[in-house]
Symmetry: C2
Subunit: 327 residues, 2 copies
DNA sequence: AGCGGACGTTGACTTTTGTCAATGCTCGTG
DNA sequence: CACGAGCATTGACAAAAGTCAACGTCCGCT
């Protein structure tokens, strides 16, 4: 990456200020510029990721509930947003927390798969810029012109931009009109290659979708409202990377799924670190399905959902009281 | 790790201030404490690693020289400290840069091997505290009561402390009086286990030592001054983790090496990311030997040394002029 | 119970940082 | 070549953050 000389001075100012601990006026003197410029450069340094300020997310891991969830469901790490007294609405805090955790989980050279949805976009939005090197962000599902929200490819690209990374979009729609066409397309070398590339990711970021009249797959037009009832009868329980799963987390055997171009579930599960982020308390059911399908290793949810998960798994959510006590 | 309630408020203040972007007085109001306390907590948050401020090290990777070195010697990443006009003495900047790079390279759950030396200790000293989880720091060589400087085990422990990590020290001296004793000790299960654990590290940090009257191994008493001449005749070129290597980077066949308890070279090379840091321009020779022995994948040196390495490898250090131009 | 020390907290003051309108500079265009 | 748009830079002022002595509180000890 060619270095614009203008950026050089920003790096120098940031290094002197943040690493050497000089004051702005000292930095100004050292670099022969005004202090106002130093202040300006430092702001730019923070905004562009030349300087990265990360805050510990321990706050959201500190109660017993999180540890119990990790233990009971065999997860790597669980973060819970409860009533820490930080903000009125826990759900609103989730993308911010997820962005912090996500940025921390991605390192130089990583290949990162992202699925899309409202939550994922909110995370992208809350992410700080970071000066990673050699990161690749790959889309985990086909594309879709979402009329009311952000498109999957925009989502991928936005995240890539924040990591100074290369963004790889799928050259295919998420869902096609016929099974045959989807099959043909999947066999196309370009598409094949993209699908195969998902399994070699180092980490993944996604959410799980619901299946209701106002859920994402419906609203963005991937799925017809009329198909919904029949799918539910077949046992549809949630949506992962644009594909419908049953209550056990298996790919539902249905016409819709056969017309979809998206990541293979085994490929997803082959990714070592998979961060699942769920904002809404209403997604409890789909989340349980996703757990059974072993789709993720790291989880961020509200403590309400955390407690319910344990309850419904026949576990006493002991420590829930501790959570409440935090406030 | 049990959470002292006092720390909780520090985390909360840091989260609100750094992640939500509130002002100190707003944080104070939200947490029902005085603004002065908020300022205090925030400082503590920074000092203890609850908040981590990392500055990009791009500044030290920007010239062609670094890229040429990576290419010619097959290294992963090279950072060069030249005359960026930041500080008078490039060598003094190296531990600071190395500390930044090192902290960035270690992630949760990593097992990190550290060798010791003046440089490694200087790095430990310059490191910020970070709130890593599940990190283990293992000593890569036996111990030694260094009269004039820090001991290997102190070095390991200090680094562990900064990562909130577990530190594993070697339960053996670096060098013994007889070959037999060293052999027996190496075969002891406790020691065997520690030696074996080195190969399973995720990353390593070390420097290379010289062999002169005033070099580290001599000064700390590991090696007798009287032995030096004979070792040089045998082809001794440098020191890696307390062991002597020849110009080709191979373990020198000598009495001293047979009496040493330290990491096996193949185990070191089995570690995927190995950061070599060299402060002194005088270590050019030992460094070349270390390169030939493929001891490291990442390198931090002065640009003077960088240029010389290329020259002596028969490469024109083009771009050196570019380096100078930076100032 | 009384005492003393250590440590956490705060208000008031100082220093440092953020901001913004005004100015200067560069470069493409008529 | 002159002009002006757009952007970088700066000085001066306002806002925010840092500091510290004084005070309060808790806890162990006599």
């Amino acid at each position: 990456m060619a270095y614009r000389p203008a950026e050089q001075i920003v790096h120098k100012a940031a290094w002197l200020y943040y690493t050497h601990g000089l004051r702005q006026d000292e930095v100004a003197q050292r670099l022969n510029i005004s202090r106002a410029s130093v202040a300006l450069y430092l702001r730019r340094a923070r905004e562009t990721g030349v300087v990265n300020i990360a805050t510990s997310t321990h706050l959201f891991r500190e109660d017993m509930l999180a540890r119990r969830l990790e233990e009971v469901f065999g997860l790597d790490t669980v973060w819970l947003v409860g009533r820490e007294g930080l903000i009125a609405d826990p759900a609103a805090e989730i993308p911010r927390l997820a962005a912090n955790v996500f940025v921390d989980m991605v390192r130089n050279g990583d290949r990162v798969g992202v699925a899309w949805g409202r939550t994922v976009y909110a995370i992208a939005d809350a992410m700080s810029y970071a000066d990673r090197e050699g990161v690749t962000v790959v889309e985990m599902c086909g594309n879709l012109g979402s009329p009311y929200s952000y498109r999957p490819d925009q989502c991928t690209m936005e995240i890539a931009r924040r990591f100074n990374a290369r963004g790889l979009n799928f050259y295919a729609p998420l869902v096609l009109s016929t099974e045959d066409l989807a099959g043909d397309l999947r066999r196309e070398p370009v598409i094949r290659e993209q699908l195969d590339g998902i399994g070699s990711c180092d980490m993944a970021l996604f959410s799980v979708g619901t299946l209701d009249a106002d859920s994402h797959v419906i609203k963005c037009g991937a799925l017809e409202l009329s198909e919904l009832a029949r799918l539910k009868d077949l046992g549809a329980a949630g949506v992962i990377a644009g594909q419908i799963i049953d209550a056990e987390g298996r790919l539902l055997d249905c016409d819709y799924n056969r017309r979809v171009i998206s990541a293979d579930f085994d490929a997803i599960r082959a990714i070592p670190r998979r961060l699942m982020v769920v904002q809404e308390d209403e997604k409890l059911g789909p989340l349980e399905a996703a757990i059974r399908g072993r789709f993720f290793t790291h989880l961020i949810v509200t403590s309400t959902v955390g407690a319910r998960l344990l309850e419904r798994a026949g576990q006493d959510p002991a420590g829930a009281t501790a959570t409440e006590a935090i406030a």
